[in-house]
Symmetry: C2
Subunit: 456 residues, 2 copies
């Protein structure tokens, strides 16, 4: 195939878009371990989960038998506003690297939330609306998820309360302003609007907040209001299910041009993008239909898959959420300051954890500085300024392409470009000014954090 | 036609993209008046223009006979990285407005420069490279043009010196950082790197700069360097020529689905987007093939078409550029503080001016507050946060759609959505906080400014 045959951007027709999400758990031989009730240590029931999530989402969370779950028409209509996303052939990057490899990326950044987060936000808002709820609460760190949820709630006329980590609320006023423009109520966390927030403010008067604290406030805010539920943007099975639209579109676009991928690469934080992208391909591997390599890319500062333990752990620092078996660095792990806010989670989705544990997926770590080197090189030749998170995948795609240059192999490399970096220019500024630092946690730090994991 | 027949987004195939730009001047009965040498008051020759612009661009500037000018393959390859841009059917907006009108928008914001500016930036950088130049200089106010040019120069390995109005340089550090990421040299203007900058700094020590001053610095910086030329992003014929790719794609997409537009609407600053969007349709009108209405939307704070005079005027406040016959408020006109930085130009492209003068185009003004009301409403239903400039067109498209609701007419309305507002969140914040103001210049202010126009 050559430049004339494969377009720069492969767009599916709207009629070719997925009509059902793919649930890889149905095909997994070793299912992800069940969520446990933190009190009883017994598997969470649908009834229990429905106190936290919308009922339909609780069902999806527990469903590991149905491989396909129909996407409701209203969600498909919303998807058509910003999807299908393009599968881009990186001709310019290939030329720049002088590699025989063929590089493709699935670009999820062409929507106002700036990332793939909208794929699940709209689904969660839809089910909340269907259930007759008034609104939802959530937390946001860097702000992508909060933005996506604000857009989704605005579309369905739901109230949206976002607890935004105070340091981000102050340092990223523009993200906050996008959420406000979509009608969301954005509160800096910790706040005096919740009991847990007031307690933390009393104990640590000058705190700039943390994701763990914001989660606790969002959960309390939902529980204390009639007609509200808590929603979240990563880690959970339901989120990976919705994000499978990424992998399904990618596979359909590749199939359309009869392209067989050799390597699929995604950045890994909580696993929402990675699980969604690789899901359908992992299914093929499980069924023996493919031997494509799947690679998870973690920041060296927060290496849950590569240096964590595969155990039951708390999902939140407040320890109010169900226990989950996953690769984890311990729920108290504080990653060093990093500009990829979306990858700073201590654990990993149980689906991704199990796929990795079963040898169906590899994992590598990369340092922040080399990630930004790749980001700038990519931006200059491909014309898209990538999000720091996405740039982890770019780094490894470029590394794999350079290996092909050495060996002369014409491998087909596909990676997930989850979003744009327009709200991350402070990070780029640090890099442009040569002031970016890399910190890698010591074995002792990880061991100390893991020592506080729950005993079952 | 219904929802099933017309997709949400009409994407042309890459093979259907324009292979030549359309030069509406060739079809105009009354040609735009020639540029005049500010010293001799005689029409500028290609030789004279080539001292300022690349030779090929000087040729394009003067060419009012060739209707089609081939797009070089290298530029077409670059276009394929971010084009074709989608023509979107605004189903959700139609439903929200409960209008029988059919609304479409041509969305130019899905590239990292965030606007249509890249269409001309890449062409200008290409011709500079072809001529063997080392680099180009330009000015930027809000930053869209500077960003687009930085991307284009990075792609062709050209040096790019951007003089950014100091107040923007300081208040929009993120725009500046995008340019730096693309390797551009960004200098706050006025600066001590040019004679004119030093003179202004001496005279007005605390000045935060102006576009006029930045133009003067950029022109001097190009003139004083071997192998450099000055480039700019609007007003000139060459820019409108390159931007015709917007209108050509729009027309091809409409033709593909046999859609006949009744009204085409674009925001009007210097005229780059408007001229590019309406060009091919104006050609049809001139040839008697269509009676589509073309509407230019100006900010009430800077109403050059609707309240200016059609005379020869200076293009820059420094008065170093050629004189141009255009609708103008006078080169010393200072529009009130507005958040649509791209629409704050005192004059209007001579092509747009002539089309308007000949009755081929209408013009209306809208106030800032009503523009942001439309922007937020649009963002909430269509999922795209629009640039303040683009939102002028949204406002009038919505107004026209509401008129259809009254009359029951099923008109087809097309407008240009030139870009996204991700770097304009300060403006949205002002609006969200209810602190946006509207200022409309008095007749006296405009008359005083026009009194200083050159006497010929």
């Amino acid at each position: 195939m050559n430049k004339q045959e494969i377009p720069y951007k492969i767009y599916l027709e709207e009629s070719e878009m997925p009509k059902a999400w793919y649930n890889v758990r149905a095909d997994m031989v070793n299912k992800p371990a069940p969520l446990l009730n933190p009190e009883t240590k017994k598997p969470m029931t649908e009834e229990e989960l429905s106190q936290i999530f919308c009922r339909e989402l609780a069902r999806q969370e527990l469903n590991d038998t149905d491989a396909w779950i129909e996407i409701p028409q209203e969600i498909r209509d919303f998807y058509r506003m910003y999807r299908p996303s393009p599968l881009v052939r990186a001709y310019c990057l290939e030329e720049k690297l002088q590699t025989p490899a063929k590089i493709y990326y699935k670009f999820e950044g062409n929507n106002t939330s700036g990332s793939h987060k909208l794929n699940s936000a709209i689904a969660q808002a839809y089910y909340a609306k269907q259930q007759g709820l008034k609104g939802v609460t959530t937390e946001t760190g860097a702000g992508q998820w909060g933005t996506a949820l604000s857009m989704a709630c605005s579309y369905f006329g739901l109230d949206c309360k976002v607890f935004m980590v105070k340091v981000s609320y102050e340092q990223k006023p523009f993200r906050r302003e996008v959420m406000r423009t979509y009608g969301a109520n954005v509160t800096p966390s910790p706040s005096d609007t919740t009991a847990v927030g007031r307690r933390i403010l009393e104990e640590f008067p000058g705190t700039t907040g943390s994701l763990g604290c914001a989660i606790s406030e969002a959960v309390e805010a939902a529980a204390s209001r009639e007609g509200y539920r808590y929603v979240l943007g990563s880690v959970m099975n339901q989120v990976l299910l919705h994000q499978s639209v990424i992998g399904l579109e990618t596979k359909a676009a590749l199939d359309k041009y009869d392209i067989k991928p050799d390597i699929i690469i995604g950045c890994a934080g909580g696993g929402s993008n990675l699980g969604g992208l690789v899901g359908p391909f992992a299914g093929q591997k499980i069924r023996g239909e493919s031997d494509v390599r799947l690679i998870a890319v973690e920041p060296a500062s927060c290496p849950s898959l590569t240096r964590g333990s595969y155990i039951y752990d708390f999902c939140d620092t407040g320890k109010v959420c169900p226990l989950q078996k996953m690769y984890t660095l311990g729920s108290g792990f504080i990653p060093s300051s990093s500009h990829a806010g979306g990858l700073r989670y201590h654990g990993m989705s149980s689906v991704v954890s199990q796929l990795y544990h079963d040898g169906l997926m590899e994992a590598v770590t990369v340092s922040q500085t080399e990630v930004f080197q790749a980001a700038v090189e990519f931006a200059r030749v491909e014309g898209i300024l990538p999000a720091p998170e996405s740039s982890h995948a770019i780094r490894v795609a470029m590394d794999e392409a350079m290996k092909c240059k050495e060996t002369g192999e014409e491998k087909t490399i596909v990676f997930g470009l989850t979003g744009t970096g327009y709200f991350d220019m402070f990070a780029y500024q640090r890099f442009n000014d040569g002031q970016m630092s890399d910190y890698i946690p010591t074995d002792e730090e990880i061991a100390q954090s893991l020592a506080k994991a729950p005993r079952l």
